[in-house]
């Protein structure tokens, strides 16, 4: 009964979407205010209906109602409650429902908080947004109904894939979807602007907070997924260049480019058609990601059960929306004339360079991800494209990006002096070269990867500090007025510096872990002590236990440094009898400067010893710490007074903003 109510709510949402495509759109063309208002009602209704559908599916999972097919296939009564709930989106149908729920949430947010938008424009945005949710609601209804019944219902469920029975599933997909789907709003803004044939500074101002918000979610989602892979997959890799990871990286890269070009569009009234194109591209890549995961066209560890009809359906959605938007774009791009003029050396140029590099980086990932497919279809040649290719092709572009990055904020708009910018970064350059040289002297193996990585990362961090230092006009002797100026720096300034420094911190972590990771693989007897890097580990023994829905063997290892005990590590190997799968649970001693990471393997048949893998991973957590810093920088920017004021102001002074 609960499932049928959910299904009914979903169908109602579909009808609400139909009305929302038609009514506000006609209202915007004819100027009928009540028709335009109607779009706001349906946007809220769609969200509430999808929420009801989602809640009823969640209820079916919580009470383990195995007459609902996907509950039977993905749940088990002995599974902990948290994983019963997260299991809702641990499968294709449920995750699509979450996708649509977030899509309608964003649409409703435009209706609720978009009061500073002009009525016609807002109605068009809502109409485009509803067209997207209509497409996906239809997709769910006809190919992926989460409420399908199973007759007769089985007595027990088949359990969720054990790799997904992890807190990671609670945060990774929701954040990722918030990011992916958030980009639908920028897409709708772009299409609505193209329909009206007008892209203004004000448009860019409206769009930026939405882009920023989805970019923040995407950043957290990707970083969280990387961390999950790090601790769950059992050997501490943090990025695999898997097609599905690439599918999340591509929209992130384009969204990053979009954030920067929207600034130029807002402040300098140029790069308009480019910004619109990026907004279309970002969501297109989101859809491409959805297509990749759910069509099974490319082998990936993330792929859901594959069904060709679903792939074709999503491809059709992709074709209609991206194709349609691009056609509209080619028709209207010419009318988007730029106004601002600037010279070769200027912040505009720096941001254009940023955009070129980010787009090329995206292209590298795109062509690498799809090359096996293209090569097979066009050249009948079966090839693989793996991490070695991506590392070689992607790294130079990102290094270049990091090299030019600190110049951007220090160049003035319109006309700048390169000599002046160089002088401002003198100290940062000196400090980063010293950091690199110091690292080179300190390390022993003579490879250049670590020192160069440190140099680059220091360049970004000190570059960001220089930016703040110069903006606050720090005077060492005049402490009081300096403190006042530091306090009065805007949140946008802090946000930018922290986000850029965060990238530096991530690069530091990547360089350290790549250059200086220690790996030790051995057979140890219980009671034996062995040495890995600066640490000693004593293998205390093995025990067998069982928990709610799995059985496991657990090893106990005492971690010591110079003979002092600093921790107990208990790596596990689990057996999930219902899903008939084994997983490894690595034990990690988290540290600010290093992680000690232990995995337990097989018992050796000949001597009763156990295979044990130990890694010392220097600065591992800095990789995700830096990403969180970057996301936090974005959050600060989002909280900047200008954007907040724009919102509050829009609310109170609605009538005045109807001008354009």
């Amino acid at each position: 009964m609960i499932a049928e109510l959910g299904h009914f709510a979903l169908i109602l949402a579909l009808f609400a979407a139909v009305f929302q495509v038609v009514v506000p759109f006609i209202g915007a063309s004819t100027g009928w205010a009540s028709w335009m208002k109607f779009g706001q009602v349906t946007a809220s209704a769609q969200f509430i209906l999808c929420l009801a559908a989602f809640a009823s599916l969640t209820a079916s999972f919580v009470v383990s109602d195995y007459s609902v097919a996907i509950v039977a296939m993905n749940s088990h009564s002995a599974k902990p409650l948290l994983y019963k709930i997260t299991g809702v989106w641990g499968n294709h149908e449920g995750s699509m429902l979450l996708w649509v729920l977030i899509l309608t949430l964003f649409g409703a947010c435009v209706a609720w908080y978009g009061s500073n938008l002009r009525d016609e424009f807002k109605s068009r945005v809502l109409a485009v947004q509803a067209a997207i949710s209509l497409a996906f609601l239809t997709f769910i209804e006809f190919t992926s109904n989460p409420f399908k019944r199973l007759l007769p219902p089985p007595f027990e469920g088949e359990d969720l894939n054990p790799l997904l029975q992890d807190p990671g599933l609670a945060f990774h997909p929701p954040f990722l979807y918030l990011g992916y789907v958030g980009l639908s709003i920028t897409f709708s803004f772009a299409v609505a602007a193209l329909i009206e044939g007008n892209v203004s500074s004000l448009w860019a101002r409206w769009m930026r907070p939405w882009t920023l918000a989805s970019w923040i979610f995407l950043t957290i989602g990707i970083a969280g997924g990387s961390w999950w892979a790090y601790y769950e997959l059992g050997w501490g890799g943090w990025w695999f260049w898997d097609p599905v990871e690439n599918a999340s990286l591509m929209p992130w890269l384009i969204a990053t480019a979009l954030l920067h070009s929207a600034i130029v569009c807002e402040k300098r009234d140029t790069l308009k058609s480019w910004t619109v194109l990026l907004a279309i591209l970002a969501f297109t890549l989101s859809l491409t990601g959805t297509f990749l995961v759910r069509s099974g066209i490319i082998t990936s560890v993330h792929a859901f059960a594959n069904d060709p009809t679903r792939g074709i359906f999503i491809l059709a959605i992709l074709g209609v929306f991206s194709g349609g938007a691009l056609v509209l774009y080619t028709l209207r791009a010419r009318s988007l004339t730029a106004h601002g003029a600037f010279s070769f050396v200027s912040r505009e140029t720096a941001l254009i360079t940023n955009n070129i590099l980010l787009v090329v980086a995206t292209f590298v990932v795109f062509v690498g991800t799809f090359w096996p497919l293209i090569s097979e279809i066009l050249f009948d040649r079966n090839v693989s494209v793996g991490p070695p290719y991506f590392e070689r092709a992607f790294t130079p572009i990102f290094v270049l990006l990091a090299v030019i990055l600190p110049f951007g904020p220090l160049l003035s708009w319109k006309r700048a002096s390169s000599g002046k910018a160089m002088r401002k970064l003198r100290v940062a350059l000196l400090l980063s070269v010293s950091a690199g040289s110091f690292t080179w002297v300190y390390q022993t193996d003579g490879r250049m990867l670590g020192p160069l990585g440190f140099l680059l990362s220091a360049w970004l961090i000190f570059g960001a500090l220089s930016d703040l230092w110069l903006r606050a006009n720090v005077r060492i002797r005049d402490f009081r007025s300096t403190a006042r100026r530091i306090r009065s720096l805007s949140r946008a300034n802090w946000g930018r510096a922290i986000a850029h420094a965060g990238l530096g911190v991530t690069i530091l972590g990547i360089a350290a872990i790549t250059a200086w990771e220690i790996e030790d693989i051995r057979v140890a007897q219980p009671g034996e002590t062995f040495e890995v890097g600066a640490y000693q580990l004593r293998f205390e023994g093995i025990s067998q236990k069982e928990r709610a829905n799995y059985l496991f063997v657990q090893a106990e290892l005492t971690l010591m440094k110079r003979g002092n005990v600093i921790g107990l590590l208990t790596p596990e190997r689990r057996l999930y009898p219902v899903a008939r799968m084994q997983t490894t649970e690595a034990a990690i001693d988290l540290g600010f400067l290093r992680d000690v990471y232990v995995v337990i393997g097989e018992r050796q048949p000949n001597n009763g010893g156990w295979a044990i893998k130990t890694y010392v991973k220097p600065l591992a957590n800095w990789i995700w710490g830096g990403a969180l810093m970057t996301a936090f920088g974005g959050l600060l920017s989002l909280a900047d007074r200008r954007l907040r004021v724009a919102y509050r102001f829009g609310k109170r002074k609605r009538s005045a903003t109807h001008a354009i």
Binding site: T299, S384, V385, G386, P387, R415
Partner: protein, 169 residues
């Protein structure tokens, strides 16, 4: 199967059946010479585990990956160079086994398209900037009525606080 039967089942799975979880390189596979072992690891990272979803043989615990790792190590001990080893394995398993595709024939498109795009991007951007630069010394035409209204909104947004109080007071 009930949980009471589990210990036996567990023993079968863990101690006898082939393992299908990520432990990859086993202790007994490791070569005595650290330099040779390092080479083996490097080569393994460039070879695809053909029966896995998307893993190199260095990361995979599949039996095939194990066999390939042993083969790589045998060839290293046999004195073959890295290049010869990759050639040998490619001749047995096809080009699909290489994670870094050979830069030859149609694969050149894969390798060259990005640099070409970068060059085109820089060229187009230069042209664009050159055009925009012309406007620098030209006096801007005065704002249209539409633009003035838009400007006013933007300025009001920036001064939000004051206008806020004015409008509400």
């Amino acid at each position: 199967m009930r949980y009471r039967d589990m210990p036996a089942f567990l023993a079968i799975c863990i101690f006898i059946a082939p393992l299908n979880f990520a432990f990859a390189v086993e202790p007994h596979e490791i070569l005595a010479d650290p330099a040779q072992e390092a080479r083996a690891r490097e080569i393994s990272q460039n070879l695809r585990c053909l029966v896995c979803q998307n893993e190199s043989i260095d990361e995979s615990s599949a039996p095939l990956a194990h066999d390939l790792r042993e083969l790589v190590r045998e060839l290293i001990i046999g004195g073959l160079s890295d290049h010869e080893i990759l050639d040998h394995i490619q001749s047995r398993y096809g080009e699909f086994v290489l994670l870094n595709p050979r830069p030859s024939g149609s694969n050149l498109i894969l390798y060259l398209s990005s640099p070409v795009l970068l060059a085109v991007g820089i060229a187009l951007a230069s042209l664009y900037i050159k055009r925009r630069r012309k406007g620098l010394n030209v006096r801007q035409a005065s704002l249209s009525r539409e633009e003035k209204r838009e400007l006013k909104i933007l300025l009001d947004l920036n001064r939000g606080k004051n206008s806020d109080q004015e409008s509400s007071g």
